[in-house]
């Protein structure tokens, strides 16, 4: 028999009981954390604690080794009761890390969680003044004094509950988005999977094989794509763009524009007869424009949904497809873009990445020399379903090359371009070399020009050994001084590089494959703006915390998965897709979601309805509405992010921010200006 889990019921504080404490004289307890040595090694914690005891209304002050540890928290809880504390200050680290933990500690001890204030003496003092402990201690005293000044005026607050719509939106139908959608759908939530292109599948569907097992990529992704297509809980919205997102966690209102396919989805059977009669061929982006597709077609055979699309940029309107479609009547040349609105409780962003095309990087001759191609172009060449039927041939003469040089880090690890490592290039290059060797044996010589070869996950190093055993030549050179020139007669290429010792390297090759950098999607900034999530300097979306909250964004209810958060290969995109799904489920599975009560409050007696607040609010949270014949500012609590701009601009001082009231802020300013005794 298993032991039942001990029930730990937090005593929830009611406003009624706390309001009693508002009238009471403040009894402040201050806990000074050592943070091991993080704080204590620089700041004189003992001196600080003694100082704190001298502050008015502080009835208790104590040092704690680790305030965040169970022991530390128990101590805080016990002290609240023993000393009848009605305000708590913890002088420790950043509130971003532990504020919510300490609030819970207060609540468990029967105190309203908003009777808590945090003083950051680690980031603001010990960490940045390691060489001047005396001054650091003085600064820490001031920081704590300010916190105490505010704590004295804290008011009890009640958390706000909002209803949750138990549906999710997943943006991007690549392997990460597919996994998020499937996981959520399997948990029983309705999922909308928004895909920009005609089919889900993403980059993985473009690949021939996957490393290190050399599994056929579409063979392992295809079944998942089919599952998505068939899942009763998933609605694929493909060939569509995200227009706008408003609302808040649990209640996002999403506008989507479905682009016209000029094919009626309900009637299209995917038979492909229209494609057979279409006279027009246009560059197939799916094949990196190395091959072509018909003006009415699907990008690839396994497309999900299997729905044909007419590309009106190329169609000559001969209507042959209409004749071929015949009684099915699936073609409609008058289709218009359609805007739809959805309400979802959570959003997962999984928009993936794009490839940098090194046209501008003249040293490599891409776009200039016919036989210089990118890795993805190579992938489409060697793929049996690709434009050459799997024949690796040179563009210049249609012949199979007898020597191929793979050049690593083109655009990546380049301070002038993309400083970061694209992460998966080393491994896909190994894959390409092994595939070529296995296909053409000794009929092909393969060289890899690399600077550092990264093969640091399960089975990857073994795969590197496999490539070495297969006879691939690995040549370590520096990242600088690499260039490619062409012999105009033979169209062969000369690859020039230099070893770390300064020895020149020169290899003649019949084909060169560039491991070009992977970059963020071109519309990442636009998406970030729509979703109101931060974007990093290199264009990837910024997670809440890089180590422990990699799937969350700063916007509650919006999660990240896959390469749009940072480049990663398939297994990690899959895991992150599932991880984001689990986090979204944590929102969707609740009937209501609790949001912090730090939202603007309007004093209706002071408000003149001037509307300045409405014009400055970046979240559509404040609006002027007519109530009882009077125009007044109204706050939608769910939308308000507590930034305080409305409060700062209100000419009548009618808007206050709980936890940042005017009285509290002025008290803090006064505390700063006072001399530390």
């Amino acid at each position: 028999m298993t032991e039942p889990m001990p029930e730990r019921k937090p005593k929830t504080e009611t406003l009624a009981t706390s309001s009693k404490k508002v009238g009471e004289k403040p009894r402040i307890g201050v806990f000074v954390c050592h943070c091991g040595v993080n704080i204590a090694e620089v700041v004189d914690v003992k001196e600080l604690t003694e100082y704190v005891k001298t502050l008015p209304d502080v009835v208790y002050a104590k040092e704690v080794r680790y305030a965040c540890a169970t022991l530390g928290q128990d101590k805080i809880g016990k002290s609240i009761k023993e000393h009848n504390l009605n305000r708590v200050v913890v002088a420790a680290c950043s509130p971003r890390l532990y504020e919510s933990t300490f609030r819970k500690t207060c609540a468990e001890a029967g105190l309203n969680p908003y009777f808590f204030e945090m003083a950051n003496i680690r980031e603001f003092s010990s960490w940045c003044h390691t060489n001047t402990p005396k001054e650091a201690t003085e600064k820490a005293k001031e920081i704590v004094k300010i916190a105490v000044a505010k704590a004295r005026l804290l008011q009890p607050l009640k958390e706000i509950e909002v209803p949750v719509t138990n549906k999710a939106l997943v943006i991007g139908g690549g392997i990460a988005g597919i996994n998020s959608a499937l996981d959520l759908a399997d948990m029983g939530f309705k999922v909308y999977l928004l895909e920009k292109t005609e089919s889900i599948g993403g980059h993985m569907a473009q690949l021939d094989k996957t490393f290190p097992t050399l599994d056929c990529s579409i063979c392992i992704e295809g079944p998942k794509m089919v599952d998505v297509g068939r899942h009763p809980n998933i609605g694929i919205i493909s060939y569509a763009d995200l227009v706008s997102v408003s609302g808040f966690v649990g209640n996002f209102k999403v506008k989507i524009r479905k682009n016209p396919r000029y094919v009626i989805s309900e009637n299209c059977t995917g038979c492909g007869e229209c494609k057979e009669v279409c006279p027009i061929e246009y560059p197939n982006e799916w094949d990196i424009n190395m091959g072509v597709r018909k003006a009415i077609s699907v990008p690839f055979e396994q497309s999900v949904p299997l729905l044909y699309t007419i590309n009106m940029d190329h169609c000559i309107e001969c209507y042959k497809c209409v004749d071929a479609c015949d009684a099915r009547q699936a073609i409609n040349f008058d289709q218009k873009p359609e805007e739809i609105e959805l309400t979802v409780g959570a959003i997962i962003v999984a928009v993936g990445f794009e490839s940098y095309l090194p046209y501008a990087d003249r040293l490599y001759g891409y776009g200039k020399y016919d036989n210089v191609i990118t890795a993805m172009e190579f992938e489409r060449l060697i793929l049996a379903a690709g434009p050459t039927g799997g024949r690796v041939i040179r563009a210049s003469d249609g012949e199979k090359p007898h020597s191929v040089v793979f050049v690593q880090c083109v655009g990546s690890r380049d301070v002038g371009k993309y400083e970061y490592c694209s992460g998966f290039c080393c491994m896909y290059t190994l894959k390409h070399t092994v595939m070529l060797k296995e296909k053409y044996k000794d009929d092909i010589q393969i060289y890899v020009i690399y600077t550092d070869l990264r093969s640091d996950f399960k089975g990857y190093e073994e795969f590197y050994n496999r490539a070495k055993k297969a006879g691939v030549h690995f040549i370590r050179t520096t990242l600088e001084n690499r260039s490619i020139t062409e012999d105009p007669k033979t169209k062969n290429l000369l690859v020039h590089a230099e070893t770390e010792g300064g020895q020149p390297v020169e290899i003649e090759a019949e084909m060169v494959v560039l491991a070009n950098a992977a970059v963020s999607v071109h519309d990442a900034a636009e998406l970030a703006e729509i979703l109101n999530i931060p974007i990093g300097a290199n264009g990837f979306f910024v997670e809440c915390q890089p180590k422990i909250r990699p799937t969350e964004t700063d916007t509650p209810g919006i999660f990240l998965a896959g390469a749009c958060q940072g480049l990663k290969d398939i297994p990690y995109s899959v895991s992150q897709g599932s991880g984001a799904a689990a986090q979204a489920a944590a929102v969707l599975s609740k009937p209501t979601w609790i949001i912090e009560p730090v939202v603007a409050r309007v004093n209706e007696d002071l408000c003149s309805g001037c509307g300045v607040c409405e014009s400055v609010c970046g979240y559509d949270a404040v609006r002027i509405e007519k109530t009882d014949g009077k125009e007044l500012a109204k706050v939608t609590e769910g939308l308000c992010r507590g930034c305080g701009i409305c409060g700062a601009t209100c000419p009548a001082g009618a808007i206050t921010m709980p936890l940042y009231t005017e009285a509290q802020v002025i008290a803090q300013v006064r505390a700063v200006l006072e001399k530390v005794k």
Partner: protein
């Protein structure tokens, strides 16, 4: 190799290309053959062809208009190659001469019906060869059999019918591709101007009258290509309209649209109605067939 879209131009050729790693598309305009007429630009479904009128230089004859193809817009469908009466446009896919619209039956081909009954030819006559304004006819005599052969480059022939008229034996029969109307409004036609005449590819379709110092039309030879109208400096001085186009049977939206642009909405509707009637007749006949048995 990344896709390349390029245009190369020389005095006698315009080439636009779309080259993929494993497939290439090319459109070539032979400037020597091109009359600078408007037909291709009128019916290009992607509006990628423009006709540029040339500036007339002092004391010189006006030059033929020059066509230009937008390499970004061209889809290599081959409609222009199909319609060109002079065979000046060629579309190739991987080096092969292919008009995909014809192959997929989404556009018709012009019907050039030229017959030469060489049995009527005297062994010493080369009238037709000399008469052809485009040098497309070659008459040869087999010295042993004494048989005359008349070779006509049909694919470049606009079917003007000059040879038919000039043949003293009535051996040649030419059916026109286009029918229509060409009228010169003599009141508006500027005296002494011969621009239309200078660009007309068919000798004799327009002629200059010394009497009134104006150009007159001879519709007997006109192919209704329309280059005269492009260069005419006086609005309304030259009126040209087409009414029918002889083409292989086709049912296609692209053709209907092309026909409307080449002729007029009324003429297009007429052809559509005719096709509709034929279809109805075919359908009725199909229904009746089993009863016959």
């Amino acid at each position: 190799m990344p896709m390349k879209i390029q245009k190369t131009e020389s005095d006698n050729q315009l080439v636009v290309e779309r080259i993929h790693h494993a497939k290439s598309y090319r459109l070539t305009v032979d400037r020597a053959l091109c009359a600078g007429c408007e037909l291709c630009s009128l019916i290009c479904p992607r509006e990628s062809i423009t006709v540029n009128k040339q500036q007339k230089k002092e004391g010189q004859k006006i030059q033929r208009p020059v066509i230009d193809v937008d390499e970004e817009k061209c889809q290599y469908c081959g409609i222009c190659a199909t319609i060109c009466p002079h065979g000046a446009v060629q579309v190739t896919i991987d080096g092969e001469n292919i008009a995909s619209v014809v192959e997929k039956e989404s556009f018709p081909q012009l019907i050039r019906e030229i017959t030469a009954d060489t049995t009527k030819c005297p062994t010493d006559c080369t009238e037709c060869e000399e008469a052809c304004p485009l040098d497309l006819i070659k008459v040869t005599l087999n010295p042993t059999t004494k048989e005359v052969a008349v070779d006509i480059k049909e694919e470049q022939c606009p079917c003007c019918g000059v040879c038919e008229i000039k043949c003293p034996e009535g051996a040649i029969n030419v059916r026109r591709i286009f029918t229509g109307k060409l009228e010169i409004n003599q009141e508006k036609c500027p005296s002494g101007c011969r621009d239309c005449l200078d660009v007309c590819p068919i000798t004799g379709a327009l002629y200059f009258s010394e009497e009134d110092g104006k150009v007159h039309a001879n519709e007997l030879f006109c192919t209704y290509c329309g280059v005269c109208k492009i260069v005419c400096p006086e609005e309304g001085a030259l009126e040209l309209s087409r009414s029918t186009v002889r083409h292989t049977p086709v049912r296609s939206g692209a053709w209907n649209k092309a026909l409307e642009k080449l002729t007029s909405t009324a003429e297009m509707t007429k052809e559509l109605r005719g096709k509709g009637r034929k279809r109805t007749m075919d359908a009725v006949q199909k229904l009746l067939e089993p009863r016959k048995k």
